[in-house]
Structures are given as C-alpha cells and as structure tokens.
Amino acid sequence: MSELLRVNNLKKYFPVEQGLLTSRLSRKVKAVDDVSFTVNQGETLGLVGESGCGKSTTGRCLIKLLVPTSGTVEFEDRDVAKLRGRDLKAFRRDVQFIFQDPYASLNPRMTIGEIVSEPLVVHGIGTKTERRSQVQDLLKTVGLNPEHLNRYPHEFSGGQRQRIGIARSLALRPKLIICDEPVSALDVSIQAQIVNLLSDLQDEFGLTYVFIAHDLSVVRHISDRVAVMYLGKIVELGDWKNLYDAPHHPYTQSLLSAVPVPDPEKQKSRSRIILQGDVPSPIDPPTGCRFHTRCPIAQFPICSEQEPELREVAPGQRAACHFAKPMPIALG
C-alpha cells in the first residue's frame, strides 16, 4: 500500500475582518491547526466532525483551492504548493472535487453535456465528437440517461444532479477525489444510491477518496480509516472498525453516543453522553486540550495547560487525549 497523499502539519488561519476604528491587529480564525495524516492508494479516508471543525477547509487545502498558512500537502511525493505550469495542470487532472450542494455546484446556464465535458475541454482532451461520446459514457457510468446531455441542471432532481457532479469529477480519470459532504443534501433513499455509486466507482476505477461528512454512520459505511476533527485538530484517527468499536477519545465517544440509532428499543435504553455547551470559538480556542471545556473526563490542570499529542493508543489507532482509554459506545 503506497501513500498517495501526505499532509504534514497543515495550518490554515483566516484573518478576522475588523472594523475601521478598531485595532487593525487582526485576530485569526484557526480553522485548521496543525493537522497531519496520510491517504493510501485505493483507500477511503473519512474526515468527520461538527460544523466549524475544519474538515472542509482541510479538504480545500488538499486541492489547492486554499493556500495553507503553513505545512505541506504532498501528492505522489511532490509538494503541491511548489507545482507550477504543466505539473500543476497534471495535478489538477489527477485530483478532483465533489461538492456538497448539487444545486449550487452546477452552472444553471450550461447543459449537462457542457458541464461534464468542460474538464475535457480545459485540458484539451479529444475532439468534439470524441468528447461527446465520452460524456455519454460517463453519464451511463453514473446511472443517468446518456440521451439527456442536452438538458439543463434544473430539469434534474437533487440525487441526479449529484450524479452529474460525480460524472464531471470522473471525466479526467482522476486518482484522488475529495468528496465534501456529497450526500448530506440528499434524502436517505437517494443518499444510499449515491454512496453505493461512489463505492462501485472506486472499485471500477481504483479511486482514492477523502470523504468529508458530518454523518458518522455514512462515514463509517464508506471509509477504511476515519479521522475525527474538533476545532481544527484531529483528535482521533484509526481504522474504521477500531475507531467505532473502541473509540479512545472522549469527543469521539460522545459524538458516537449522540447519534440516535434507528432502533427504538436500543435507542431508548442506551445511555448518552450529553456534552455541555457549544463548541468554543476557533478565534480563541481553549488552551491545552481544546476539548477540555466540554470534556466529561478532563482533569485539571493538565488538560487545560498541556496540549495532548496524537499518540498511538492501539495498533493503527491514534488519539489526542491525556487520558485516552477505550469505551465501546455504538452498540449501546
């Protein structure tokens, strides 16, 4: 198993806009704060966390939609930030993105054929007729009627539009696809169609995915390994089964216990860890462990002073907690 993508100490800070009369010494939102992970060839890495944890910003940094404040992203052992010209174009071809909102990510004034063939046009691939037949093949691959290439996005439902977005991302035969909440705007029955489609495409084309989502059940279903983020940090990272069966970080444990199980008897009898309060602001994140303000097992002063390292807690599983210990949650 070779590493396709390597992320080292990635940080992305956004300056906070200040008023005219207040101090111009700008404060910063630490959206992603020192995140490192690798993605192996052919696997799916799930990035999961609540809103504002930095999962989407991480995704955007991976494909150079955002320039990291510091740290590096290496794709096939080459620093993405240093790519220029032809190499950059090749990178753009190898790495694609699927967006959350299938309504906003398709240009309403372009036909489906134009949308799906645009990457081919940009990269100068094929003649017009070749592209047309390629587009038809792509539409067929994602389960749409190839005859529909002259239609416009508004003529399709949410799930069909997401298929169009997937067809577009496949057009250049990429190696890596970053999926940013690809199913969260869809109804459950359609969500399952798209999740299955993504799995089938992975098998067919040997794709590697970074799958960003807030839905823990969907992430578990599709991922080989899962990283849990909280306030710009990875708090736990591991093989899906270990992470869900024996979560070590108290945040992972409370997240899993918070997701209601679609089984009335089980759900009503299982105990929930209810976290107090809200996620603190990423402008002034708590000192020490960022989770200590809401953590049910925090001990002071260590948790509020010393930042825990992401350390190995079990084979293939790392957690950033001073008191990490396994606790089975999901089976309730």
Binding site: E50, S51, S157, G159, Q160, D187, V188, S189, I190, Q191, A192, Q193, V195, N196, H214, L216, S217, V218, R220, H221, Y244, D245, S254, L255, L256, S257, A258, V259, P260, V261, P262, D263, P264, E265, K266, Q267, K268, R272, I274, L275, D278, V279, A330, L331, G332
Partner: protein, 339 residues
C-alpha cells in the same frame, strides 16, 4: 384518554401555474395527550404541509384545503374557526418550532421580549411580568445566565441556544400540542442530543403532546410513540414505533430502513437503496404512487389506489399486498446484522 387532535381526511392542494400540487392528499390521524407522533418522509412527502395545515398557516391565495377535510382540536373544528378563534389557539394551545432557528426569530427584538410576546398576547400579562416569565423559561430550557441572555439579540446566540429559545417561546403558554418541524436538522449531533434530551424532559414535566416532523429515523426511534410514514402526500404506514421499526409493512418503509447506514451493528451492512426518484406532486403516478420504485409492484398497482388499511391492531399500511401473510420483512430487528 380523550383525543386531543383528530385529523380527518386532510387534503391540502396548491394551485400553481404548472398544475395542482397535491401536497397532502388524504391524511388521517389522532393525537393523544402526552404522546409523541413522528411524521417521517422524504422531502416533498407532505409532512411540513400537514403541520402548517394544523396551524392554519396555509396561504389562502394558493392553498386549498379540501371541503371534506377536518381538523378537530379537543373536538372543535380548527378549519371552521374564524381568524380570532385560530389566533386564540395558535401559539397558545398549539405551538410550533421550526427547522431554522435563525430565520424564525426576529433579528431586531431581544430574545426575552420575543418569548414574552405570546404571554402578553394570550395570557394578558404585563410587559414586566412577561419579561420575568421569559427569563424563567430561558432558564428552564437550559440557557446559562438567563437573566442577562434574555436581553441579547438572536445573533448573539449560537444555533443550539436559538433552538432552545424557540422551544422556550413555544412552551411559554404551556401548550397542549407542540409541533416540531425538523427541530434538530440544522444542528450538530452533540447539540441535537442536547435538544432531544431537553424535549423529552420537558414533555415528561409538562405532558405536552408532540408532533415530531423529521426525516431522521434515529430521531424517530428516540422520541416517538407512534410513527406515520408519508410518501407523495399520502400516509403509507401508521403504527407504534416498535411496529414500524421491527415489523414494517409497506415496501417503502422497508426501503427506508434498508437504505440507512447503521453504526450500531458490528459489521458494515449492505445499503439497499430505493431505486428511482421521488415523484413530482403534480404528476403523481397512477395507482399506488410508489409503484414505479417498488420492487414488488404488480400490474394492479398501476391502476388501483391502495387505501390505508389496518392490518394488525393499530398498525396500518397502504399497500395492496400488506394483508398477505407472506408479504413481510424483518428489517430492523435488534439482531439485524448483515455480514
């Protein structure tokens, strides 16, 4: 136990330029005091319109409620009331929480004042009394430092706190029925857990009946006594939570349960999605509206509209074959583990 709310053959149709949208097409149910009814379905299935019809919030210009429809609150017809009558119930005896707490709070009024508004209107409280009561209510829904936070504007609240404020507002007049339309959909799971816990706790304390509209079957399993599954404006299954989760009758319910990824089973299951797309409500398929997506559809399903029929005690389904003893599926029994 007396029935609190009876919905009889509710039909809410919207006349649009493209045709008549049958958003709700013949819905019946009863709600008992202190119980929670979950209304489940995908987008466009008519769950929100059902709620808005009960609240008499359907715009008169486009929306038409069928003449043979009726909604009885404590035996009195809500549909037959004049505007003053509706106002005396809405927000007072029947209150509603909406999905998006930001757009349902007025940004230019202080939170405490907004909560007190219904008390002034319905209970005749003085402004000062209403303000005091608003602080108590905010405290009850778990807002820390309620006295000061009551003076905040909605933008100073986080999403979870806004939803708590909405709940405080809805509960201000101690309603008999609380209609919650996707109350946690816009919230993160840890906040969702807080809000659901709060609703369960408040229900135990106040005895309010809840109509919980949601697409999240996990939330249903957590909250519901009874479940109504909707598809294309129609009720397709109705029963207790245990009936619907463990002994579902309708193929659409099977499909819903089987397309859910689960995190409570030790191995990854196989997702069996429902094929096709939800129908347009202008051109609802003939016969059973689910037939184009149903793997068991026969010719008769194309022509005959199935009625919601009681199959077992209190458990009904709108499928022509639900009465067949062999037409069963053990979907989500506690032991369901697909390896």
């Amino acid at each position: 136990m007396s029935t609190l709310l009876e919905v009889r053959n509710l039909k809410t149709h919207f006349h649009t330029r493209d045709g008549v949208v049958k958003a709700v097409d013949g819905v019946n149910f009863n709600l008992e005091p202190g119980k929670t009814l979950a209304v489940v379905g995908e987008s466009g299935s008519g769950k929100s319109v059902t709620a808005l019809s009960i609240m008499r919030l359907i715009p008169k210009t486009t929306g038409v409620i069928g003449t043979d429809s009726d909604i009885l609150f404590k035996g009195e017809s809500v549909l037959g009331m004049d505007d003053a009558g509706v106002r005396s119930i809405r927000g007072n005896r029947i209150a509603m929480i909406f999905q998006d707490p930001m757009t349902s709070l007025n940004p230019v009024y202080r939170v405490g004042r907004q909560i007190g508004e219904s008390l002034i209107l319905h209970k005749g409280l003085k402004k000062k009394e209403a303000d005091e009561r608003a602080v108590e209510l905010l405290d009850m829904v778990g807002i820390p430092h309620a006295g000061e936070r009551a003076k905040d504007y909605p933008h100073q609240f986080s999403g979870g706190m806004r939803q708590r404020a909405m709940i405080a507002m809805a509960l201000a007049c101690d309603p008999d029925i609380l209609i919650a339309d996707e109350p946690t959909t816009a919230l993160d799971v840890t906040i969702q857990a807080q809000i659901l816990e709060l609703m369960i706790e408040l229900q135990e304390r106040t005895g309010t009946a809840i109509i919980m509209i949601t697409h999240d079957l996990g939330v249903v399993a957590d909250m519901a006594n009874e479940v109504m599954v909707m598809y294309a404006g129609k009720q397709i299954e109705y029963g207790t939570a245990e009936d619907v989760f463990y002994r579902p009758l309708h193929p659409y319910t099977w499909g819903l349960l089987e397309s859910l990824p689960r995190h409570d089973v030790s191995e990854k299951g196989i997702l069996l999605p429902i094929t096709g797309q939800p129908p347009s409500l202008i051109n609802v398929p003939s016969g059973c509206a689910f037939h184009p997506r149903c793997p068991y559809a026969k010719d008769v399903c194309h022509t005959q509209v199935p009625q919601l029929t009681s199959i077992e005690d209190g458990h009904s389904s709108a499928c022509l074959f639900s009465g067949d003893p062999g037409f069963r599926r053990e979907t989500a029994s506690p032991s369901r583990e697909v390896v």
